[in-house]
């Protein structure tokens, strides 16, 4: 394939897919080990009421208020889940289920009630994103990468997920030691002077930021899949956290690349003409990787567990 076609049509969606996947997989590692994997699921559901509320308040479909709305909804959801869990003494899974379904229902209702048909704001978009449409029209070929004028026409989503990835990576890098200790032994971390509760909340907020940034571009299915599948597959490859994070990054990038290629070109190989949903395909590929890791990963068993338990 020549650069004149690849660069404007496929390079930016591919890059955005890869960056989004990595942004979500990075905090996903810690959520997975802390048995909070489904926080990602809850966050991606409550993003919908967040953006609808932001739209109703501001009346415009621009990225910034929507991201604030989504992030705000994520924080509200986390606070509500914690409140229901503590006040009602309900197990975390059920508390989560109560809160995120109710908020999602409220989001759908708001969407149906408000006159959003004129603008591009719908449930489908929220679910599957629009990775394929994030093309770079100003590009004419590989040379455009050096052309400032063309670079100005890059889809803004690319910049946003890149910033989000840097922010998430920075958080993980700065708090690496504290995160690591508190993930494996919270009580020990507390005696070492780590503010474990604060760190836990910060981790969830970082995850929310990652989810919101990625959600904008790739939709909520991909966000959930990337929070869980690459870290879960990585967990079956190694016992060391450093290696697990590295594996998860590789798996995330691999899923995004393969998924995008399969979605865009796969149907052509079978003689069909139209591409299928890239976000869905990326999630499917990440599931295939997880399946392979579960079958062949060197550390797939619980250590010390009986072989056929």
């Amino acid at each position: 394939m020549s650069g004149t076609e690849f660069v404007p049509l496929s390079l930016t969606p591919l890059l955005i897919g890869v960056l989004s996947a990595m942004t979500c997989a990075l905090p996903g590692n810690f959520l997975l080990l802390r048995r909070q994997a489904l926080i990602g699921d809850a966050i991606s559901h409550v993003v919908l009421p967040g953006i609808v509320a932001a739209f109703l308040v501001t009346g415009v479909v621009t990225a910034l208020p929507m991201m604030f709305g989504a992030a705000g909804a994520a924080v509200v959801a986390v606070v509500l889940i914690e409140a229901v869990r503590r006040l009602g003494r309900i197990e975390p899974g059920a508390a989560m289920g109560v809160v995120f379904t109710a908020m999602f229902a409220a989001g759908v209702l708001l969407l149906e009630q408000s006159d959003t048909s004129a603008v591009h704001l719908d449930v489908d978009h929220a679910l599957y994103g629009n990775l394929e449409s994030l093309i770079w029209l100003d590009a004419t070929g590989w040379g455009s990468l050096l052309d400032l004028e063309a670079l100005a026409g890059l889809p803004p989503e690319l910049g946003r997920v890149a910033v989000a990835l840097v922010a998430v990576a920075l958080f993980v890098w700065v708090f690496w030691r504290a995160l690591k200790i508190s993930t494996f032994d919270e009580a020990f971390a507390a005696t070492m002077g780590v503010r474990v509760n604060l760190l836990g909340v910060a981790l969830v907020i970082v995850a929310a930021v990652a989810a919101v940034a990625a959600f904008d571009a790739v939709g909520s299915i991909l966000v959930i899949a990337m929070f869980i599948c690459p870290p879960a597959a990585a967990r079956l490859m190694t016992n060391r956290l450093e290696h697990q994070v590295a594996w998860s990054m590789v798996f995330a990038a691999l899923s995004a690349t393969l998924g995008y290629v399969f979605a865009g070109y796969g149907p052509l190989w079978f003689g069909a003409q139209d591409a299928v949903s890239a976000a869905g395909m990326i999630a499917a590929v990440s599931g295939a990787i997880l399946g392979l890791a579960a079958l062949f990963g060197p550390h797939r068993k619980r250590s010390g567990a009986p072989v056929d338990a």
Binding site: A94, F104, A294, S303
Partner: protein, 400 residues
């Protein structure tokens, strides 16, 4: 309009949908209770998302076989098969690898959903798929439903409810005390399987009304709300069934009474409102009850400490203590104890001395374990025992 909808006077379809939603709500509430008590509420999330590829594949298959892809029975059959497959994947991942159940649930739900979306985009490009309306399964859509579909949903709700009623006893046993159930000869693995089968059935029947993203709300919210009202597993199931039924009935009714009120979200929001009320005002576990209990406890501590201070002739500075003592007529506004106050104070002091004896003597270890600084000693020991203790302490001393 609302009244007509709730009393089943809005035409065949709306009536059937409302009946179906009510039956489904009852079935979902009861089934969800077992999931909730087994602490596996979110397994239903994986099951419901895993229905999507089945819906898509069933549509494609039916079109390829030359039939109408929108046949609801066929679509629901497909959804049941793929949801079952998703359930198998969850249990395989939890069993065969060291991943926790939460990770397995998340992985299965996102991957199956992703595959489902891929299939939906395939269907959109098929010539007969342009108007498939399969997106209706995501959020439920009862508008413009065929009469046969409505009948199917109402019957499905009735069948699921009958199954739940039939399996209720062993499921309560297993949910509440698996070890006891096993010792009583109940095959817990098989009952667990039956429970998952019921969850699957509820999900499939609810797909068209509530949609696959929100169906889990019907399985989770009613039991959680019901848990506030009772400590007994059997009653939780019944109350949850009631809450689910009312949510389904009210929700479907409200949604039929006006345009732009999607059925699924309304049902879920009604259920959530019931939950919020339960969380706030239920006796025992509710927030309001907890606050009242806390305030009562606070008053007892203040009163007790105030009395002990009076008995020892110490001045009281704490405003709340003073106010409470004054309101009980135990001190005058200037902080000097009244006659009654002095009597109560010396009684409190004497009780402390009695407790002291109880806590030091070996024969009363059982009673001593109940000491918390507030409990009246008469509620623990008999008058005879108290007289005996008094003999050990010596004659009554009058507080000064």
């Amino acid at each position: 309009m609302l009244f007509e909808a709730l009393t089943f006077q809005l035409g065949y379809n709306a009536t059937l949908v409302t009946i179906g939603a009510t039956l489904l709500g009852v079935a979902a509430g009861i089934t969800g209770t077992f999931l909730f008590l087994r602490k596996r509420a979110l397994v239903s999330d994986a099951i419901s998302h895993a229905t999507l590829p089945g819906v898509g594949l069933a549509f494609i298959l039916m079109v390829l076989l030359g039939g109408d892809g929108r046949n609801l029975a066929g679509l629901l059959l497909g959804s049941a098969v793929s949801a079952g497959l998703g359930l198998l994947c969850v249990s395989w991942l939890t069993r065969a690898t060291r991943l926790g159940e939460d990770a397995a649930i998340g992985a299965v739900l996102s991957v199956f959903f992703g595959i489902g979306i891929v299939l939906l985009t395939v269907i959109q490009t098929m010539s007969s798929g342009r108007q498939a309306g399969l997106e209706g399964f995501l959020l439920g859509s009862t508008a413009g439903m065929l009469f046969s579909d409505a009948v199917l949903i109402a019957c499905g709700g009735a069948v699921v409810l009958a199954l739940v009623a039939w399996l209720q006893r062993p499921m309560i046993l297993v949910a509440f005390d698996p070890e006891y159930a096993a010792s009583a000869g109940v095959n817990t693995a098989r009952i667990d399987l039956a429970m998952m089968g019921l969850v699957l059935a509820v999900t499939v029947v609810g797909l068209k009304i509530v949609g696959l993203i929100l169906i889990i709300a019907l399985l989770i919210i009613p039991p959680v709300a019901a848990r506030f009202w009772t400590e007994r597993a059997g009653l939780v199931a019944l109350i949850a069934g009631g809450i689910g039924g009312v949510s389904g009935w009210l929700g479907a009714g409200i949604s039929a009474s006006a345009p732009d009120l999607p059925t699924g979200p309304i049902i879920v929001l009604v259920a959530f409102a019931v939950f919020a009320i339960s969380l706030l005002v239920s006796p025992g576990r509710g927030v309001l009850a907890a606050v009242l209990r806390y305030l009562a406890f606070q008053r007892r501590v203040h009163l007790r400490q105030g009395l002990l201070a009076l008995a020892q002739g110490q001045p009281i500075y704490e405003k709340m203590t003073l106010r409470l003592l004054q309101r009980a007529g135990l001190v005058r506004p200037d902080g000097v104890p009244t006659e009654a106050g002095r009597a109560r104070a010396s009684k409190a002091m004497r009780d402390e001395a009695r407790w002291d004896v109880v806590r030091r003597a070996e024969e009363w270890t059982g009673a001593a374990a109940l000491y918390d600084g507030l409990r009246e000693i008469e509620s623990v020991l008999t008058p005879d025992q108290i007289t005996e203790i008094d003999r050990m302490i010596g004659g009554p001393k009058v507080a000064t």
